[in-house]
């Protein structure tokens, strides 16, 4: 393995420096777009290096880099990845390439600022996934909000200012409690290293409050019902690229945070409060599924379906306590956590694809109202093929990645409680209902109006963008082993941490 090469730092700083370079180039420079594509592609290629050099057999942090940063407080530039963060980093690098390609022609206003914002955000998000120092994590976690705030606010829809300020304040409100929790843990542990936080002994009362702080911070990000209301607004107003990054990556940071902080640091409180998270998750799966059903705006529908899908992630993470209580082996627990992880990755690709499809239609018709469409398949056959496929994946069709994660979680849920599995499985019906009903109204049927009749099918750029996503979704759906293998050791380690009381 190439341990000494600072690959993670390169992955963080290459897009950030590249973004600054694009920004400095100015908006009238024709090189802004190719340069952005080059930087994002290079980052993607380099991120594959993580996969190649990754050691599946250990849960220990890999590609570790450590250097003092703020010596006074013993805050370190401490990076490293395990089986949880590595796939998410690759997902981030991939999503950014897609965003750059998706914005290629569409973004005519201040294109270099747009590209720069996404490149800088990419670096920050990769840094979030690889930070092992609490303050470093928090810095990147918050800093990420700035470019996204600007992206929604500048390139967003008519109600963008409201949406972006709501998004910013909502997430900021959640994360300040995280800051308090991290500072308190430093007070107890005497170090800012997240790995030291994992080992620190905490009383039940301390764990209770810390867990609540983590839950508020990450539940807003995931987002869990009832703190999800910023998401539909943000998604609807955001430009396509913003929606993609929101759905594909920032939501995952919520799930990742629960895995990295809440479960290992406060296992006893997680056990005691698992009913809360499970309840909220099932509410998200069932209730938000119904909410998605009645949406008139395509992006809103996908936003709500994202919330429902992320409900599976939190469900999978927290049913492990019930599984431990029911069986001694805990094999179902591995299934649950891996299911949650696969669901996160898969949702990253599927939501990206769905938002891109909406983006393709929006670029042509400038409306996202479902009722404005109808019979798109007649004028855009190739696009219709992709759209139907992605909708199927969103509904969890076997053979697509959407099926794998949901199926693993539902299977595990049976070991926890029949009713959990029952309610979780309702999503298969609801997901099919809202996804396919939307497809029926938008894609199929007679050509509903003149605007639809004049639609042109997707061009080469859009084709390859969607095709690459389709291939990945299919690949994970048919053969998820490469994905689950890398996380296996980390999942098992997490479960040992979770099953040991810290009191």
């Amino acid at each position: 393995m190439i341990i000494d090469f600072p690959l993670l730092s390169l992955l963080i700083w290459l897009p950030i420096i590249g973004g600054v370079a694009v920004l400095v180039n100015g908006d009238n420079n024709p090189w802004a777009r190719p340069l952005s594509l080059l930087v994002s592609l290079l980052t993607l290629v380099l991120s594959l290096g993580l996969y190649i050099g990754f050691d599946n057999t250990t849960y220990e942090m890999q590609f570790v880099e450590q250097a003092p940063w703020i010596a006074t407080f013993d805050i370190n530039y401490f990076l490293g990845i395990d089986g949880f963060s590595m796939p998410l980093i690759i997902l981030t690098a991939f999503a950014t390439v897609i965003v750059v390609v998706a914005g290629w022609q569409v973004i005519q206003m201040r294109p270099s600022q747009y590209m720069a914002a996404f490149l800088i955000m990419e670096g920050l998000m990769i840094a979030v996934f690889s930070s092992l120092d609490a303050i470093l994590f928090y810095v990147f976690f918050e800093a990420m909000l700035i470019p996204l705030f600007l992206v929604i606010g500048i390139w967003g829809g008519p109600n963008r200012v409201y949406a972006t300020i709501k998004f910013f304040l909502y997430t900021l409100f959640g994360s300040v409690f995280l800051l308090l929790a991290l500072l308190y843990l430093h007070h107890v542990a005497g170090s800012f290293s997240i790995l030291d936080y994992h080992d620190v002994a905490l009383s039940m009362e301390e764990q209770f409050w810390l867990f609540l702080a983590f839950l508020i911070a990450f539940a807003v990000k995931v987002p869990m019902w009832p703190v999800h209301t910023w998401l539909p607004d943000a998604h609807v107003e955001a430009p396509t690229g913003g929606s993609v990054i929101l759905a594909a990556i920032t939501l995952k940071i919520g799930g990742y945070g629960l895995i990295r902080f809440a479960l290992p640091i406060t296992p006893d409180a997680s056990l005691a409060l698992d009913w809360l998270v499970i309840g909220l998750s099932l509410t998200a799966v069932v209730y938000i599924g119904f909410v998605a059903l009645v949406q008139k705006d395509m992006k809103k529908l996908i936003a709500y379906s994202s919330i429902a899908h992320m409900g599976f992630v939190t469900l999978g993470l927290f049913i492990v306590f019930r599984i431990f209580a029911n069986s001694s082996t805990g094999s179902g627990a591995v299934l649950a956590v891996e299911g949650a992880m696969v669901q996160m990755i898969s949702h990253g690709f599927i939501a990206t694809a769905m938002f891109l499809c909406v983006g393709v239609l929006y670029d042509r018709m400038h409306t996202r109202e479902i009722s404005a469409y109808g019979g798109v398949a007649n004028t855009m056959p190739i696009f219709a093929g992709f759209a139907v496929f992605f909708a199927m994946a969103n509904a969890g069709l076997p053979g697509t990645s959407g099926f794998v994660g949901e199926f693993m979680v539902i299977l595990a849920a049976f070991q926890a409680n029949f009713w959990f599995a029952f309610f979780a499985a309702i999503t298969l019906i609801l997901g099919a209902a809202y996804s396919l009903w939307m497809v029926k109204r938008v894609i199929f049927g007679e050509v509903s109006n003149d605007n639809v009749a004049q639609l042109e099918d997707i061009n080469r750029r859009e084709f390859w963008m969607l095709a690459s996503l389709a291939i990945i979704i299919l690949a994970i759906g048919l053969w998820p082993a490469p994905l689950t293998e890398v996380m296996h050791a980390s999942v098992e380690h997490l479960l040992t941490q979770v099953s040991q009381s810290k009191i």
Binding site: A71, T72, T164
Partner: protein
Amino acid sequence: MMFEVTNMAFALPEMFMLAMACVILLVVAFLGKSSAGPAYVLSQLTLAITMVLIYYAMGKTAGLTFDGTYIKDAFSDILKLAICALNILVLIYSSSYLKDRGLFKGEYYVLAIFSTLGMMIMVSAYHFITLYLGLELMSLCLYAMVAMHRDSVTATEAAMKYFILGAIASGMLLYGMSIIYGATGSLALATIAETIQAGGVDNTVLSFGLVFLIIGIGFKLGAVPFHMWLPDVYHGAPTAVTLFIATAPKIAAFAMAIRLLVDGLGSVHQDWQGMIIMLSILSMIIGNIVAIAQTNLKRMLAYSTISHIGFILLGILSGSAEGYAASMFYALVYSLMSLGGFGMIILMSRQGFEADTIDDFKGLSSRNPWYALMMLILMFSMAGIPPLVGFYAKLTVIKSVIDVNLISVSLVAVVMSVIGAYYYLRIIKVMYFDKAIQHEKLQAPVDMRVIFSVNALTVFALGIFPGSLLALCTSVFS
């Protein structure tokens, strides 16, 4: 006391500054109306040479002088350097603004230098009377500076308010000092500290004195409920003067608080902690919430100052060396951010036009992307969003409060920082998301543009590498 011979060298920078202030005064008196230019140059020279003097004496022997009334230590050296540096920048920022408004007069610079001298004395004072002298020297100059714009009704009103409320505050402070003198029998901070430590001081009398002392400090810092003067003065004064008031004097007031509460009355920390908690929490709440309602940027920044003061007090109330260092870090960082914030208003202003309403910033990013970006950095920094230095300032003070187990206070602080984020975001929203309503070009001269950019970029750079400044502040109190 252990000092036999008065060590003049400890006060060399102040003596030099006093001499130069007199020289500038003479120059102004002789040259009359055409004295502004030379006075400006001389003032900048004075400040620069004083900085050199302070810098060369840094790290060398520290101690008391003038019979224990004056101290030179790492704390005073660093703060004095900061005060002089800030004032150099303030004077660069304000020169063209003053020229445009007929305020470019020699007297302005005389007052500025005398007021700087007052601040330096406050920082180094180790005796109630010295401290009071420094405070009055600074304040009287500031009152006059606010009133310099004679024809402006608002400026005159602001000056009157400032003067009357400032005089009341000084009175309170003096009253508190006299009570503490009654309790301890001394005016020297070192002796007071020893006497209290030794025991036998009537605690009731001491606490009574303490209350008035804290009122005085609260007034000077602008902490709620003694904040009434602050928005009116910031709003009413010419922006150049607001810039002056909002930066270096805050550092001097912070030094005064540390000298009185920590150096003098540190052993009765338990007695004043509760009061400071109240001041701090109220400042954060009132400052942040009222700032939301403002449409005038100067007023908004005034209320934001109040909330920042609340945060600075957080570190002081923690009562730990780490907390004091955090407060010092916050005070330095805050004055840098505030310099940029008010500097931006000056930068945008031109002859006959004050860019002090929030609407004046509409669509700035399409008119002037660079300066919009700089302002964005400053606003996010004030809101405490990483990776900007304002975040570390908040981080360190909140950390110090958590370390002494005042979790509920830290909760208020973080919730208020979220509320505070709203009005900073609004500035960014106006600059980046709104359409421009005016298209005039920026008229600011090159030196101001450069200084402003450097100012904002420093905020950014300190955000990436806050370590050295933090280490510096920590070393002072360890």
